[in-house]
């Protein structure tokens, strides 16, 4: 479903040129849960931007759902993001002083979905992200960190995207809450068959995925299956009951 072929990204030009990505190729199939790992400066942010159609590569081709998106214009990219990609950010990026339901419905506003349909789909997405009706009318600043990130996950889900792209989703959360968020992502992957790409620099977090791609200096240094992904749900139980 995702097909990266020889992707490079260079910033600047001439002698100032800096290669953030130096020829990256991989593919991700539907229903996979992949972690992209690397230290800062490894190019994982650049990779995430290209993967999320926020940016285009300098060379190489990126096919998403069979479509070449590597040479698209800004407006075409916006169109692809609207329908095929759901983002979960480290800093949540919910609209402040806005209800949970409105936040989740926001992508549907741009997709031109009718108001009635929006509410149904937002409710379904919030339920899938593990939030109940009582939270729907809360303002985003009245929620805990874990709840906020689950609202953000629901927002990423609501468009029924081909790919959920989570960029350091646990970066601003404590370990307990991080597990709740990881559990939510794992359930979406296992029960709903969502394709999830998780970008992180923490090995603990990456180990919850089924496959780990490691980056260093703009190149892939390893791409392997994780034989025993950690189960966030079980860890949460252990957390709550250490005995």
């Amino acid at each position: 479903m995702i097909d990266f072929k020889d992707i490079t990204k260079t910033y600047g030009s001439g002698t100032e040129a800096y290669a953030a990505l130096r020829g990256i190729s991989f593919s991700i199939n539907e229903g996979e849960f992949v972690a992209i790992m690397g230290p800062s400066g490894s190019g994982k942010s650049t990779l995430m931007h290209i993967l999320g159609c926020l940016d285009t590569p300098t060379s190489g081709t990126y096919r998403l759902d069979g479509k070449d998106v590597s040479t698209m214009s800004d407006n075409e990219l916006a169109d692809v993001r609207k329908g095929k990609i759901g983002f979960v950010f480290q800093s949540f990026n919910l609209l402040p002083r806005t209800t949970v339901l409105r936040n989740v419905m926001l992508p549907l506003v741009y997709a031109g979905v009718s108001p009635r349909e929006r509410e149904n789909r937002a409710t379904a997405a919030l339920n899938a992200a593990g939030l109940t009706e009582e939270h729907f009318t809360h303002l985003s600043n009245q929620l805990s960190g874990g709840q906020i990130q689950r609202v953000a996950i629901a927002r990423a889900l609501v468009n029924d995207p081909a790919l959920i792209l989570a960029d350091e989703p646990t970066g601003n959360l404590d370990s307990r809450t991080s597990l709740v968020v990881l559990d939510t992502l794992q359930k979406l992957n296992r029960w709903h068959g969502r394709t999830i790409v998780l970008i992180t620099h923490e090995p603990d977090i990456a180990e919850h995925s089924e496959r780990i791609i490691r980056l260093r200096d703009g190149s892939i240094i390893s791409d392997e299956k994780n034989p025993a992904p950690r189960d966030a749900a079980r860890e949460t139980e252990l957390y709550d009951d250490p005995a």
């Binding site: 931007h49 999320g52 926020l54 940016d55 800004d74 407006n75 916006a78 169109d79 993001r81 609207k82 329908g83 983002f87 950010f89 800093s91 990026n93 609209l95 002083r97 806005t98 926001l106 992508p107 506003v109 741009y110 997709a111 031109g112 108001p115 927002r155 468009n159």
Partner: protein, 411 residues
Amino acid sequence: MRTRDLIDETYVALSTNKARSGLTVLGIVIGIASVIALVAIGQGAQSSVQASIESIGSNLIEILPGAARQIGFGASGGRGTARSLTLDDERAIAQVANVGAVSGEYSGRYQIAASGANTNTSVDGVDASYAAIRNTAMDQGSFITDSQSVSLAKVAVIGPTVVSDLFGPDTSTANAIGQRIRINDLQFTVIGVTRSKGSSGFGNQDDVVYIPLGTALQYFAGNGNHFLSGIDIQATNQTSMTQVQNDVAALLLARHGVNDPTKADFSILNQADIVSAASSVTQTFTILLAAVAGISLIVGGIGIMNMMLTTVTERMREIGLRKAIGATGGDINTQFLAEAIALTFVGGGIGVALGWGISFVVTLIGLVVAQVTFSSIFLAFGVSAAIGIIFGWYPARRAASQNPIDALRYE
């Protein structure tokens, strides 16, 4: 994005920071209100000046004896002092096409006394047609007739100011009828009182005494003097005024044997000229007022631009998020432009109401009858919408052109 969503988003965005939105709107409110109120006051002043000029008479052409210029540097007499217009001139003018009515005039200022009180005012010897030409309506009694002029009757029609000057301010105008007054030591009987016209800016039209023209020439002008101090002509309609003016000028030049029109021994005043001169003064004044108000409107617009730029910076991450979830540059542009236009429209609406209110209060106080015209309201709305678009354009452009990656990272 649907229109309803756009309205919804705009409302949420603007109501989030009510104080800031309110103050920004205030700038536009003041601008629009002052444009509407000042234009209304200017137009009110213009029409009141126009009305008072028209109260002198309608389709009026006035001929004054001129000051015949001397060749070289000889002293010229003041206009109106020359002895060039005669009763024969008046009769000849009555034959010109499209002349509705003609009245000769002989006027001077005299001391007038009645039962101990006295005043000094203008005494006008006029024909019967004068009342119609000058729109002079009667409050009590009747106006001078032509037969009184022929019989040299010593009768007078006086203005309401003269009534109160001679008989006291509490005297009703009806009581003035039949009273004896002395003009320049000659006894006259009051046969009528004119209705109040107010001041026209060309002297108080209520402070005047009318007597028959024949009587005036006989007793005040001196021995067998048939020279008039003016001739009033009423054209039959507005469109014929120029023609009447030209024909009368040609007639008088011929009668007085003057070949060069620049050396005419009379001058012609056309009421339309006075109206248009006065209108152009008040119009200039209105434009000046509107320009000052317009400046405050522009300052209000800059306030909007300032607020929108701040908003764009504050909401940078929101812009990044919206773009990440599929908003195009156009969507973002529309949204911020809508916010700016909404501000100016709300400001425009309140401003129109406030401007209307101010005009109403000004009218109520009696300063001037302010006239709020629909054109000024449409103009104000158009200008406020234009200001929203012009001053909202740059901030909206700036928001729309943000790279989503940079916008999301913005701290």
